[in-house]
């Protein structure tokens, strides 16, 4: 389909504002070139696109990033108490001085900008490849833009059981920063890794994470997207799962005027398990969009989507979630729930849950609800002496708990709950 003139113009305007990526070795230059070509074909998202019906892409595609003030807060950085390998980015550029030496037993870690001149690399079969696979049946132009222009990021190959989590820390220090990062993770057979991510990253952040999980491997991902009120982010996860592999991803989001988190999961090996969950809290000028697409293309796989949003003072939450069960993906177990808790009448939750099933022996369910605080429950807590505001916050945590409980590790689960709690407490004053 030919692009509209408006779309062409918007796309070219955006590309004209970009620095050309470093050329690099054949494979990387090729991957980047391919991505730019893909992007030109589909054009950047526009307001009329069905897939952007609930979220206005304007600020995410504008040639310049809208400014975002850096949020100062006296609080220990997220995950500080955990033993982990820290890799720090400042406004989208890796900062070796604040980072740990990137070496970990059973794991190869390379910086994208360092491998640009390597002729052949394991990542050549993955960089931009999973992203490209994820472009059908729905286009994800911001991810193609990322593949074409990302200069930094990490290529992580896990061959054993990583003894510590890898922690990607995204600091935001400049009001006008516009960051693009692209990471690739490959878990070899039976390998295991926990990946942590936190921080606002930049005024505007475009991130792609491609994860290829071989048979029997396990990938755990916990992300805390936070803080800076004016930050904007468009992120994509593209995951491909082999037989009996496990993918678990949880995202906590608070604040941020514009967030679009897409997660594209392809179950290609039998008996694989993919869980993706999110807990988001927004107050005021907050727009948060979770867009998930799970494709079952193997037998007896399980997928689970659990998304919860708490919205107040005009905050907007969006959920678009799809489970596609391909012909032959028998015994698929697919579950999807998206729920919002609206703390006032000004806030809004827009959901589009979808199932598309071509196999005959499957169990799939989805549900979406919008609700308010339950008066009887609130009264019960207040009758024990808990003041209304505090009681409301306990019920907010109660509401989010189902998503937070998707985090397997107890310490991480508690760390996330503590953050949610602190955020609520700050608002109570």
């Amino acid at each position: 389909m030919a692009l509209t003139q408006a779309k062409l113009d918007a796309t070219e305007a955006r590309l004209a504002a970009m620095d050309a990526p470093a050329q690099g070795a054949g494979w990387l230059a090729q991957a980047r070139g391919g991505a730019v070509a893909r992007l030109r074909e589909m054009g950047l998202p526009g307001r009329r696109d069905e897939y952007w019906k609930f979220t206005r892409p304007d600020s995410l595609i504008a040639p310049e990033a809208p400014r975002a003030a850096v949020f100062e807060i006296d609080e220990a950085p997220m995950f500080d108490e955990f033993d982990r390998l820290k890799l720090v980015f400042v406004d989208g550029v890796f900062d070796p001085d604040s980072s740990d030496d990137p070496s970990l037993a059973g794991v190869e870690i390379e910086r994208l900008s360092d491998v640009a001149d390597t002729d052949i690399h394991w990542a050549r079969d993955l960089y931009g490849v999973l992203e490209a696979r994820g472009q059908s049946p729905v286009a994800r132009p911001l991810a193609a833009l990322n593949t074409g222009y990302a200069k930094d990021g990490f290529l992580i190959r896990v061959t054993g059981r990583a003894e510590r989590p890898i922690s990607l820390i995204y600091r935001h220090e400049t009001d006008s920063s516009d960051a693009i990062l692209h990471h690739v993770v490959r878990l070899e057979e039976g390998a295991e890794l926990t990946l942590l991510e936190n921080g606002p990253a930049a005024a505007r952040f475009n991130k792609v994470l491609e994860v290829d999980i071989a048979d029997g491997a396990r990938f755990n991902h916990i992300r805390a997207q936070g803080r800076d009120h004016e930050r904007r982010a468009a992120t994509h996860i593209f995951a491909r799962l082999g037989a009996e592999s496990v993918f678990k991803s949880f995202t906590m989001s608070v604040n941020g005027v514009m967030t679009r988190n897409e997660c594209v999961i392809e179950l290609t090996g039998d008996d694989a398990v993919a869980h993706v969950a999110g807990a988001a809290m927004g107050d005021g000028d907050f727009h948060h969009d979770d867009t998930v697409f799970v494709t079952h293309d193997a037998e007896r796989c399980e997928s689970r989507q659990v998304f919860k949003k708490v919205l107040r003072n005009g905050a907007v939450g969006v959920f678009q979630g799809k489970i596609l069960v391909k012909d032959g993906a028998q015994k698929t177990d697919g579950y999807q729930i998206s729920q919002s808790l609206l703390l006032d009448d000004d806030s809004q939750f827009l959901a589009k849950p979808e199932l598309e099933i071509y196999a005959d022996d499957v169990a799939c369910s989805h549900g979406s609800t919008t609700g308010a605080i339950d008066a009887d429950t609130l009264y019960y807590l207040r009758s024990r002496g808990v003041p209304e505001a505090e009681a409301t916050d306990l019920l907010v945590l109660s509401f989010l708990a189902q998503a937070v409980e998707e985090i397997e590790d107890e310490a991480l689960r508690e760390a996330i709950t503590a953050r949610l709690d602190a955020w609520l407490a700050r608002r109570r004053g």
Partner: protein, 251 residues
């Protein structure tokens, strides 16, 4: 301690009148029981006293140690020393019993200008009090009332009462759904709290609870009014003959 004077209550949403002039004087150190047919307004009385929405007080007062609590928010009434053990305790997923109780204890202390209890102190106290009610560590960690059996929920209400140490305790059918052993446990929990400075109002349908928690005064409520007041023997009479005779007698 709690003096209820000529309390008239209707539903907020329509003209249904539920309480039609209730008078009760609950003295410190005493256990009062209220019995009465289904729908006579016993739970409504307890809800109105503890501040639940949906009711309108059209007349009357309820003085707790010199304060008309009907003007207070539910949490203020709790901090003032009022406690209601619910007929139907609410389930709250995702918030542990322990977290909730600590929040409640400290919120009340804060409201009264007292120092908050630190976690060591709190843990020690809750373990001790939970033990008396046969509530194990696992139940304390579990989300509030979620998946609790009927008996466990009622025991949990009494644990909350024991931790919050209210001066005016209202128990709404705490015996319903309890087996004999659980009822003894609950009664033991309540009796442990009996104190010259504390008053109890026990709502029940059955004499058997009153065998274990011996009341000083028994009231019969019917159609939104206390129609008869007497000693423990009144409960025995109800158990034997039902309410028909009493109703006829006052009619």
């Amino acid at each position: 301690m709690l003096e209820i004077k000529n309390l008239h209550v209707k539903l907020e949403d329509d003209d249904t009148v539920i309480l039609k002039g209730v008078n009760l004087n609950l003295e410190p150190g005493k256990v009062h029981a209220i019995m009465g047919p289904n729908g006579s307004g016993k739970s409504t009385l307890s809800y109105v006293l503890s501040g639940r929405d949906g009711y309108e007080v059209t007349e009357g007062e309820a003085w707790l140690d010199g304060v008309n609590i009907l003007d207070l928010e539910p949490e203020e009434r709790a901090a003032a020393g009022l406690f209601l053990a619910f007929q139907y305790p609410v389930e709250i997923p995702g918030v542990s019993n322990m977290t909730f109780l600590r929040t409640a204890v400290n919120a009340q202390r804060k409201a009264r200008g007292e120092e908050e209890m630190n976690s060591t102190e709190f843990l020690k106290l809750i373990r001790e009090r939970a033990k008396t009610l046969d509530i194990d560590a696992d139940m304390l960690k579990r989300p509030i009332n979620v998946g609790f059996s009927g008996g466990e929920k009622k025991r949990n209400e009494i644990l909350q009462m024991a931790m919050l140490e209210p001066r005016m305790c209202i128990l709404d059918e705490t015996d319903s759904g309890l087996d004999v052993d659980a009822m003894k446990l609950v009664a033991k929990g309540v009796n442990a709290l009996r104190d010259p400075n504390r008053a109890f109002l026990v709502i029940t349908h059955y004499q058997r609870l009153l065998d274990h928690i011996e009341p000083d005064v028994v009231h019969i409520m019917s159609d939104g009014r206390i129609i008869k007041t007497g000693g423990p023997e009144l409960a025995i009479e109800v158990e034997k003959n039902g309410y028909a005779d009493i109703k006829a007698e006052v009619a």
